[in-house]
């Protein structure tokens, strides 16, 4: 039986989070309030590195108890941290969880989001044996909407005007991917 590595892909690696070093980098991303919003409850604001470190410390503890799973996304070439991926709010009884993918810059999103998502989904479905994952996206985040559509997620819920950003209300979109749908894609890729 040939096993695919879970933590490596062509250009990326999933690694543990280096609380000291990575918190500095992640904190620098939080001037993008859409990223800040993913780290703590509203109102979103830029976060200093020490607060980011506290948040990830707490999440790391939860990860030790398998309550969530948390990885830094690094470029293989130079080991730079480009993003973070988190599988959280896991309901083991139902095999359901939320997936939260962050990449620090729009350029890295453009270049790496698809590859990072593939790694995260392989982990969620193959390693955690989940039945479904949910990704919550703000209506104004076109790049994220495109990604989840490309990855064959289904737009399942549209909470009207549930987000406030840049002077107005936007819908909160919930995308879902089921295990059988993901399996079908894997088969299609193998056969292609």
């Amino acid at each position: 039986m040939k096993l695919k590595p879970l933590f490596e892909s062509q250009n990326l690696r999933l690694t543990s989070i280096d609380l000291d070093k990575d918190s500095q980098v992640i904190a620098s991303w939080t001037y993008d309030l859409d990223i800040a919003r993913r780290l703590r409850e509203e109102p979103a604001r830029p976060l200093p590195a020490f607060e980011v470190k506290k948040i990830y410390e707490k999440w790391q503890k939860e990860a030790e108890d398998n309550k969530q799973f948390l990885f830094a996304i690094r470029r293989r070439d130079d080991d730079a941290v480009l993003g973070v991926v988190r599988i959280a709010h896991i309901a083991w009884v139902h095999g359901a969880a939320f997936l939260d993918l962050i990449l620090g810059s729009p350029q890295d999103w453009q270049a790496c989001a698809r590859e990072a998502l593939e790694l995260a989904l392989r982990y969620a479905f193959d390693e955690l044996s989940l039945f479904r994952v949910t990704a919550v996206v703000a209506e104004h985040n076109q790049a994220a909407k495109d990604l989840f559509h490309q990855a064959h997620f289904t737009l399942e819920v549209r909470q009207r005007e549930a987000i406030y950003w840049n002077k107005r209300s936007w819908d909160k979109l919930w995308f879902g991917l089921l295990r059988p749908e993901w399996k079908m894609q894997q088969m299609a890729e193998v056969n292609a």
Partner: protein
């Protein structure tokens, strides 16, 4: 006393009484159907002491009330507003009627009306969200009647009673609530 805001036609909402409500919550949880309609986690049993500790610990971000029947002042359930996003003006509603003889008689619905009024008129929220299991048909009908709109469903989210079920999401905007209440 200015409690009219927290009273409706059948019920009034009151702050939790750690001693009384903890006893009731522990007893209601022995009714597994109640839990299976209310919560997506595995049904559990808590002692009154555990429930009391939970109530007394409180949660600064949430508003939890007990629901009292106006006729006999009996506590029949609870209602809760939490997960509030103050920037967007969105909050999540949860409601449970623990006393079975009060099921399907409009008590939950009346309590929700009071909470919506509080949320929109006092907290200045713009919308209220909720989710409900596909198999909880009585609750879905109640939310529809109150003016909540269907906003989608997480497909096959729940693994229960030997099959998978959807989780339904519903929401009501303040404008919808105002329109509905001015026409009544």
């Amino acid at each position: 006393m200015n409690a009219e805001k927290f009273a409706g036609k059948l019920v009034r909402l009151a702050v939790l009484d750690p001693e009384k409500d903890s006893e009731l919550w522990a007893r209601w949880n022995r009714d597994s159907e109640y839990q299976q309609l209310l919560d997506w986690g595995p049904s559990k049993l808590y002692s009154p002491a555990q429930a009391r500790e939970w109530i007394e610990k409180g949660n600064a971000g949430s508003f939890t009330f007990s629901i009292h029947s106006l006729a006999d002042d009996r506590i029949v359930g609870f209602i809760d507003l939490d997960g509030i996003n103050w920037t967007a003006g969105d909050g999540w509603l949860g409601v449970g009627i623990g006393e079975r003889e009060y099921w399907g008689k409009g008590y939950g619905s009346d309590a929700i009306q009071i909470l919506l009024r509080f949320a929109f008129e006092e907290l200045n929220l713009k919308r209220i969200s909720l989710n409900v299991f596909e198999y909880n048909e009585r609750a879905i009908k109640c939310y529809e009647k109150l003016g909540f709109q269907h906003e989608g469903r997480q497909r096959q989210l729940l693994n229960r009673f030997d099959r998978r079920w959807d989780m339904l999401y519903m929401g009501i905007l303040r404008s919808e609530w105002e329109a509905k209440n001015s026409s009544n």
